[in-house]
Structure formats: structure tokens, C-alpha cells
Point group: D2
Chain length 365, copies 4
């Protein structure tokens, strides 16, 4: 109820601070009998890991995960899976100057007023570092969904600051540090270099997709599948907008265009983004999110201190000039957690999960 | 867990179908001692009511609410408040032709595959009629928030189909059927008349705002205030996109621009939309939503029946050619429910609710 | 979260006051496709109904239930089932004298201090009348469990005041007003007549049983099946004690006696009461509850008023001299609700429900 | 939802297995600003610790707790408090002989059928070792309740096997290994020595009490304070019965006796056990629990193996011949967790917590 648990039946309780001794999570509700090793989880953690290119924070965290419980002889037992990641490369002195002042665009001000106390080291609990346990839990969900239904998750960057990124092919995503679906990323390298030199930051737009979706996931009236996707995505640090399917473009569409026709071979289009009435259609889930520019920048900003007096803030520390760059694997994990939870919720009430009836032609948008 | 309850501490359990005997909800967790009458709730229901202009469905429902419990001698007692609205103007025969076929853009297909059974009369449970109990519950939340903190909620239309609607003044909203913040709505009247004549429908964009917000509402890590707002809004029928503050525009913003500076007199701007790190800043909450064109249109659409065979669907019945028109009071209610729930969640853990420290200058975007 | 919802996946949200316009509940999470009519529910309501013998309250309520939603053409649709029972025989004037004083043994004192406001008519929300919606919801759960697994629920009285009631046969229970498993209930008739004449009340002990139980229901660590049974039973008005299996007698048992041996034909005994490690064994669930004497008695009692001054309270109104008499069908319903919820929770995580492997010999205690 | 989280607003998510690398919990919802160190928690862990007398298991675990998060500069921050306890003295080879057979009275059989997989080492997840994180979390709750309201918790043994233990004084409890409220425990030492020699085990009865209780805690209708106490206690390993106040004795009481009179100086008695209508009266909470004899005994028992064949089981390993002996601090912790959660739930809805109005005379039973 205090907001650190994600999901209901496949629930992830996240703990830790950016510069505390450790971060981690407890997954409750994982089905028993699934093969699971630390390596299965490490793969996605490595995709999210800081320090892997010059365009992201240079904090060097191995993010090595330890499974503390819930796995016996290489298989899940149905009991809670606790995952532990020790913090190793904290440099808390970078934050000495902001103990008593509020960084614009950051949670400093709101944590201070909410709790009356705040851990300023690396942003404490509000740091994007806390997405690591989410990614770890998402990796477990992905494994199960892949094995059960063949469902797969992927994400890519579709805009970097002012630069729209065309979609060429999913295969390019893993070969560049931007998760961009294009072969040539020189323009983005140059853009980021200039930005870093200017001491500034930029936003990004990320597309997230689930394919091989079962039909029927999602609980009307309030806990619609798309409602929970929006909750998951908007809850990710720095996200300011979420779209499903046609998103904001649907405002200017006509009903005769937007509504996806059905044919015996499947849907003829996917403006809905894979959800009708809050329930999955079996088409690809198509989600798009807007990520704001990083608030931690070297340029001096006007602010106030805890006494309400004017002050200037320059954020040192090691930061991502575009937090959107590392967002792709996190967004995938969040989408996987939503689908996983709804798969179990569906099974509880309806007892089985449908796939591919009638045949689904999962057209892209 | 089956998705028909909204909120945790101020929870609303919604029931009913479009053409069943009644719809309604049970509110649990309302603070005791608050004056409450049916008239307090009826006001917002009337703003949402069908049949009030030629641009919306001509179904004529009085939507008279009856308080069944939780109020004694005009005051809430702290026990569940059950609200009942009888359906009176069902015309189920309009739906005879879609019992065995799926209307494109509708929940028919997904309900059928999820549950194996579906109430086709008026869309059954998936009908936007079920937003009436949400509006009723929102009215109760608004009363308490107004009395406690002076918080107020309002919404207006900012785009109708292709037509952007400029913002003139909130005072205009109540004087036209579009909830448009402009004095002259002739262009929108004409637009809708043409659309109806064409048997087509269009989308809309709605802006929702809360002013007089307390500081500190919202639970990190997952149940952020903006995450729960996104959940609430995306869960509203036909919504395909949600923005907080600068929304998708923040992608192209620089960090030096986006991050709202703080001054001793308050924030200098509100790109954040009133939320930092998932917690309210005390500034106005600024939310924008995209509503897709109504799927129920007179133009014939390609579809399939429950046997997977091709068919054509023409949706008769009485429908809103732009469901966005009546969305403003619903979106207000949803925002009020989110804020209410977080106010109680905050009080549970932190024991008090802050306001206006330091002074908040709630700039618009 | 405010305590008026029972269960998680098969959840029952209860509303109403003893003398308000109506009582009822909303069931969320019922599996779709199950035949359900009002008559199915009415049967159990009639077993609990007041006014059926001279030993219970003479308030005459038909307790006619109306299904408001969730059922289409005689089958559940998977959407919320709202049940409404209008109150018809309120006599609120009986309560005029206790508006400002606290009846000993009643919730008057605690509601007053908790909420600062209290509906005194018939005990308001704290009345045992609110068990009627619980019984109605339990009837729905029973139907599903019977159809799915053959699980059945029954309860009987095993002690009335000082009088222990021997167990003869379940078949007797329906033939006497005490739910006593004996053929001759003259002693209990006489006992109650004397008690009523004395203006006093007595307690009772009730045994509740589920047979035909699936194996594997119950969630360790905290939400054990027996933990949730204890929660359900202790939450019933006037209950002061709960036992599972051997109960308090197990304190003086040796381990060599208590632990139920397993044989290829099943368990050799059932001291466990059908639960090991919080999970059902497939044996009969055996539960026993202690019900305190009715607090509403004609004999004058010392008390205080809302100003803290001494006063005497005589409770008029129409009360059960032994609330335990009507407790049997309520306890059955509560046990059914617990088993139902755990059946769905099990299915969510583990995907199937086991029965009878290896063969279960469900010995009684 | 999978049963490993206790509480709603002050929630404890427990993880670990008896012989896994670690056990622990995540506390979510702790109010911010409370001083907290590892020593505060260690004290109660040490009271529960194995290996402290010859009458309990000789497994030697230091149970040293590490705070991983949620505390900054010695104070709680309002973010999750993760507590980690490494297992150090596992001797899993003791369990080799029960990998394929079910120990009578144990969870082996039910885990196997529920999950299809089971960690047999030390009972895995079903081990009473998992009460350690509960005790740790309870210590945090106790600190806050003591500081806020002066509420205090204590427990003692009132029966050991057939031997009733008279109540002399609370002060004796800490001076003997039985948590017995008497000066001379020689009889219990002898009893246990004989039992151990016989390779058998016995049960116990424990009394738990909270004093300095606020008035008004508890949520009707279902989440009554006593309902949640019963849930907590029955969920503790080996508990088979729970009583509040007069408990099962109330069955034979008359209403004129049972109902506690109120006087201007407070209640005249406490048959209710501190709860009326599910809400705390401000009197002492009085709870009594029945603990079954340990199932792990050296005497050979009839059982079956996973193939359904007859076998004999002798449980080696290091076990408590009376698990009730170490139950006192655990039962205290559980009661503290229930009261803590309800204190926050009350504050959420009602905004303040009452104490001592009118003066409460907390009589013992």
C-alpha cells in the first residue's frame, strides 16, 4: 500500500537506495517448477547496466544478482524469490552540496515535504538505479511467458531529443548503445556528444512491444490491461506520457479509420495497440512513452534551499545526459510484469488462457 | 483483484451493465462526519448525463442516485456508502444483430474470448454507461478534498477531431455542450453536424486540472501519483494516451528548459505538471488525455462472427458520435479519486498533509 | 482496506446498516458461465432468516434478494454480481433510549470513539443483520465449489450454554431450530424458554465442516488456509474463539498421538483438521467456534453515556437470546468463501487443482 | 496475494527457506523519522533465537540482522526497510531420508501436492525458522507503538502439555527458558527432560497481551481487529486455536455476566479481551493460543512416500520438543504487527487516534 510493490498475483516488492548497501526485490507468486538461474536474470541487468558507453552514466556497477530464496535445485518452488544486488560504486560525496538545496526537476523537494527527511546520496530512493530490481523481476516474468505462450518483449528508441529515429529493423537494436532500430547511429552519437559538451540533457521516445500475446488478458472495469500498462510506464522515472496503439494520433482519426476491421485471417490493422475494452486481442501490444530530459545537468539552475532561500544548483555526480537511452530494457521489463500479472489474474478467474483463436494477424501500426 | 475496484483506502467497487436493472458502486473508506446528500452527487451526474444535446447519445436516463448506506442524519458514518442508479431507458432490441458478430473497435471480441459469454445489450459491462458510478464516487471525493484542502477539479476539451480548441477561459466550459473553454463554439457545432450526417465519429483531447493541491501526495516507487493518474485515465473507455505536464513535448525539450526552477515565491513554471518523483509539488496537476473516435458508427464495417466467418456490422442504437464530449466530468472524477486515495495513503504513513510550504506559485504550463 | 471486503480473488464487498434502506454486497471475481438464479441464493438466506422460531429475534424480514448485475440469461458473466436486500421491518424507535448511552458488550462505545458518529438504529453497521449479504455470497461460492470439486459445507451446534450437544447425525440438523445434530431437542427448547423468561442470554459452540476438499489450497507463509479461516470466523459477530482440528485439546496431546499417520489408503486420523502447513490435505476441514452470549438483554446493565456519566441500560428491541442459534449457516458461508478464494488463488499460481491423489480417507476427528 | 505479505499499510513481505542462503523481510509503510538501529531489532531476535537452552533446538544461528535500506543516519525515511539474516548453521544432510517420504503432521505432503516440488531441507519454507523475519518486523512495530501511544506487548506460557502454569507475575517471564510467569520452573524442566528422553513432544498454551492500547483500532465489517489477530495467530506454525478475552469459556457464560459493564472509571471487567464490535476499547488486548506438539519427533511414525507406498519416518535433525517454548516472542511480534497496521489504517480514514477517553480501567480477565 506504500507503493513499493508492483503487481498483485505476480508481485514485486522493491527495496533499496542508490547509495545504500544494497538494492533488490522479492517476487511473490511465481509459478513453481520453472527453471531459473542467476544467469537468466543477469542478461537483462547487463542490458540496463550503467557505464557501458560514453553516453550514459560512468558509475561502474557490476549489478551482480544473488538469488536468496525460492529456487531449489535450479527450479522455482512457488515461494518468494528474493533477489539481492549489492551497491559497490557509490560516490556519495558528490552530493554534499545538495543536502540542503532542491535540484530542479528532481524529487528532492517533494520527498523533503512528504517525509520530513530525505536520503540525498544519489537521489536515495528516487534514483533510477531502483529500476534494476524491476528489470531483474521482469526477466523472470519474461521467462515464464516465453515458455507458456511464446510471448516476447522488445523495445527501441524512436526519437532522441528533436531527432526522430526511423524504424528499419529490430535486429539493429542490440548493436548500438541507443537501442535504435537503425544501422547507422552516427547522427545520434554526434548529437549526444554536443549535448554533453553543452552541459545539457535531452528527452527520448521509446516504443515497447509484446508479440505472441494470449487473448483475453486484462480485467475490466478499472484494471484494464492498458490502464495497468499506463500505470507501469508512467511510474518509470522521467516518463511524462504514454500511448497505446494510435495514441494521441487517434484524436484526429475518424471512426471509420480507427476501428480495426476483423477478417477471418485476423485483424486488418492495429490502431488499438492490441487492446479492446481493456482486454488483449492477441495482436501485438504497442506502447509508446515520452521520457523527459535528465534533470541532473552541469548547467547552473535557480532553486531554493530547505529554508526557502534562493540558491543555485549545479549537479555534479555521474549522470545519464539522456535517461531515455537505458530505458528500453526497463520498459520491456515493465510490460512483461504487467502481462505476467494479468496472465495469472486471468487464469484465476477463467481457468485457461486462449491463444490464436481465430487466427490473429498481428499487423504493426 | 478482478478489476472492478478503484483505489485502495478510498475504494470504489463498481457494478452493473448498460442494460441490466441497475448500475452503482460501493465506496469504502470515506472519512466519517462529512455532510453528504444525494443532491451533492446528482450535480456531477447531471453534467455527465446522456441526452442533453443533439451531439450526444439520445438515450434518456435520469441517472437518479439513491444512497443506500453509510450516511446517517446527513453525515457520512465511515461505513460503506452504496450508491444505486436504476437503468430506465434500455432498448436492447437495437443489439439483436450483434449477438453473434463482433463490432470493430469494440470489446465484443475480447469479452467473448475472455469469458466465453458476453452480455451484448448496449455493450454490457464494457459500456461507457459504467462511468456514471465513477462520477458519483468522484463527487464524494471532491467534497472532502474541497473541504479539507480547498482542492478543486476541472476539465475542458482542447481538441475535437482535427480542430484544436484554443484556451480562452475556464468560465466558458459550463456554457456549451462541448466543455470547450471558448465563447464561440459554432465551428464545433457545424463539425459535429457534418460528422453525424456522414455516419462517422471523431476523437477528442481533454485537459484535466487539479488546483489547490496539497504537497506530498504520491507513493514511490511504483504507486507514484502520476502513475496512478495514468492508470485512472487510460482505464477510461476510449482513452489511448495520457500526458502529465509537458507530456510528449518533453522529448524535444532540453534539461535546462524542462526542469522547473524554484524561487522563494514558488516554482517558475510547471512542465512537471505538478508531480516530481511521483509526489505532488503543490502546483496544479496538469493532465491531458487522447480519446479515440467512437467505434459505434452507422457506416458498415468489415468484421467476423463468432464462427470466424466474414460479416458486415452496422451499429444502430443511440451513440455519442464523439465520446470525448462527455468525458470532461468523468476525467475530473477520476483525478479526484486518485488524489483522494493518495491523501488518505499519505495520512496513514506520514500523519499529516502539508500545504503551501514554501509558498507555491502554481503557474500554468 | 477499510474492512468491508472479504477475500481477494473472489471478493465480497458488503454494505448497509440494520435500519437503513437496504443491505447487500458486490461479488467480484466469480468465474463466468455458472448457472445462477436468485432462488439459488435465497435458500441459504432463508436458513439464516430471523423470525422463524420463538428462540430467535421476531423481526420479520423476508430477506428477498435481487441480482442487480453479473448474470445474463441465467449464467454468470464474470463481471461483478451485485446483490440487494431491502430492509422492510425496521423499528428504530426501540433504539431511542440508547442514542446517548453505550450498551455493555456492544460496539456502541467503540464506534463512537472511532468515528465520532454512530448510527444507533438496530446497532447500525455492527448488527448481525449484515451477515445476510455474507450468506448470500457464500451461496454463490458453494455452488461453484460443489460443481467443480464436489465440495460441501455443513455446520451444527455442539454446545448451547452449559449444555454439550452430542453428535448423532448430520441429518437431524435441518429438522430443529437449533441446527443440533440430534433427534430430540426438547432439552434445548426448555433451556431457551427459561433463559428468555429470565431476560438473559447464553453462548454456543458451532462445528463447521467442509468435505470433498481439493488438496493444496492455502498460501504459505501468512495467508495459510487455517489463518484465513480463523480470520473469517473470528470476524463473525460475537465469536470469541476458533479451533482447527484438535484445537485447544492439542496442547495436552503428545506428538506421537497428534500427528496424523499416512497410509496408502489415506490419513489414519484428522487431528490436523484438514490443514498441514497452512495447506489443505484433502481431508475434511474441521472448525469449531465459540459464540458469546447475546449482549442485548432485557436485564438492566450498568453503563455510561457519551458524557461519561453513569447510567443504566435495558435493551429492548427484538433480539436473539442466543445469537449462536442462527450462526450455523453463516459459518458455513464464511468457510465456503475462504475455500473459494483459495481455490482461485491456487489456480492463479499453480494452474490446476488436485483431488484425491493419493486416495484420501477423510476420517472425522 | 501469494501469502507472504503480512499487513496492508505496514506490510511485511517475508522470504527465505530454512536452509537457503538467507531469510529476511521487506517492511513497507513504516512512518518516517523514527530512530532505528540493528540493535533495536536484534533484542527480540535474541529472545526467539534457537540454541539458548537444552529444551529447544540445538541449531546454532546467531540470527544477526542487517538493515539494507530505509534508514538514513539512524532514522527511518519512509521507504522500504529490508532486513537480511544469513543462514549459517544448516545441516541439510539430516533431511536426506525424507526427500521422498512425508513426515506425519508436517507440510511435506501438502507442499508436494500443491507445488509439485518441495525443498525438503529443514522443512524449507514451512520451517518455523521463517518466524525470525516476523519477529524482526514486529520489533520495528513495537518501537513505533511504544513511542506513539505507550503500547506494550508481552506473552507468557500458561500451559505446557498437561501442566497448567499458574500466573504469578510478568516479571518472572524473562528469567526462565519457558517464558513462564512463575518463579519456580523445576516441574517444567523435569517434564521436558522426560519428554525428550521418550523421543516425544508436547503442546503449549500461550497468553499474549497488549497494554496501553489506543481506542478505535479495527475495521468493521470483516477486517475486525480480533479477526486480524486470529488470522495472525492461527497463521503461526503449529497453532490450532485462538481465543480473544473469555474465549471458549464464553459459551457457558450468561449475557448478564459476560458483557463488561462500563463505569465512569472505565470497564468493570474484560471478558471482551479489549475488543467490541471488532474495534479496540482501550483495555488490554487479551489473546490465548493453542500450540500443537512438535511433529518432528524421534519416535518412528507410519507414513507414505511420494509413490503412495507405506514407509516409516524417523525425524532426525535438531528440533524443539515443544515449539510452544519459543512462541512467546513470536506471538508478541504478531500482535504488534496487527495493532500497527490497524493504527495506520485508522489514521488514514479517521485522521487521529484516541487514547484514554473516558478513563480506561484495564482489568485483567
Amino acid at each position: 500500500m506504500s507503493g513499493n510493490t508492483f503487481g498483485t498475483l505476480f508481485s514485486v516488492t522493491n527495496f533499496g537506495e542508490s547509495h545504500g548497501p544494497a538494492i533488490g526485490c522479492v517476487i511473490d507468486g511465481c509459478p513453481p517448477g520453472m527453471p531459473l538461474t542467476e544467469a537468466d536474470i543477469q542478461h537483462d541487468l547487463d542490458r540496463r547496466r550503467p557505464g557501458t558507453s560514453r553516453h550514459v552514466t560512468q558509475r561502474n556497477e557490476p549489478d551482480a544478482v544473488e538469488i536468496l530464496s525460492g529456487v531449489y535445485e535450479g527450479k522455482t518452488t512457488g515461494t518468494p524469490i528474493a533477489l539481492l544486488i549489492r551497491n559497490t560504486d557509490q560516490r556519495s560525496k558528490d552530493y554534499a552540496n545538495i543536502v540542503e538545496s532542491f535540484r530542479p526537476g528532481h524529487a528532492d523537494y517533494t520527498y523533503w515535504h512528504k517525509y520530513g527527511i530525505r536520503d540525498p546520496r544519489g537521489g536515495g530512493r528516487s534514483s533510477a538505479r531502483l529500476t534494476a530490481p524491476t528489470v531483474a523481476a521482469g526477466a523472470v516474468a519474461k521467462l515464464w511467458l516465453k515458455a507458456q505462450f511464446g510471448t516476447e518483449f522488445r523495445a527501441c528508441m524512436t526519437q532522441l531529443g528533436e531527432l526522430a529515429i526511423p524504424f528499419e529493423d529490430w535486429s539493429h537494436v542490440r548493436h548500438n548503445p541507443f537501442f535504435a532500430p537503425v544501422a547507422d547511429v552516427q547522427a545520434y552519437e554526434d548529437y549526444m556528444d554536443a549535448l554533453r559538451k553543452a552541459g545539457d540533457s535531452c528527452g527520448a521516445r521509446i516504443r515497447v512491444q509484446a508479440s505472441g500475446m494470449p487473448i483475453g488478458l486484462g480485467q475490466p472495469l478499472y484494471d484494464k490491461l492498458d490502464a495497468d500498462i499506463a500505470y507501469a510506464m508512467m511510474g518509470l522515472n522521467a516518463v511524462k506520457g504514454v500511448e497505446i496503439g494510435a495514441g494521441f494520433a487517434s484524436v484526429a482519426q475518424r471512426g471509420t479509420v480507427h476501428g480495426d476491421s476483423l477478417t477471418p485471417e485476423g485483424f486488418a490493422s492495429n490502431h488499438a495497440g492490441g487492446v479492446l475494452g481493456g482486454i488483449s486481442t492477441g495482436q501485438d501490444l504497442e506502447v509508446s512513452i515520452a521520457i523527459k530530459p535528465t534533470s541532473s545537468i552541469l548547467s547552473p539552475r535557480e532553486s531554493i534551499d530547505i529554508h526557502g532561500q534562493s540558491t543555485q544548483v549545479i549537479t555534479k555526480g555521474r549522470h545519464d545526459p539522456c535517461v531515455g537511452i537505458r530505458a528500453a530494457p526497463i520498459a520491456e521489463a515493465l510490460l512483461a510484469l504487467v502481462v505476467m500479472d494479468h496472465a495469472l489474474r486471468h487464469r484465476a478467474q477463467c481457468g485457461d488462457v486462449h491463444q490464436g483463436v481465430p487466427p490473429i494477424r498481428s499487423s504493426l501500426l
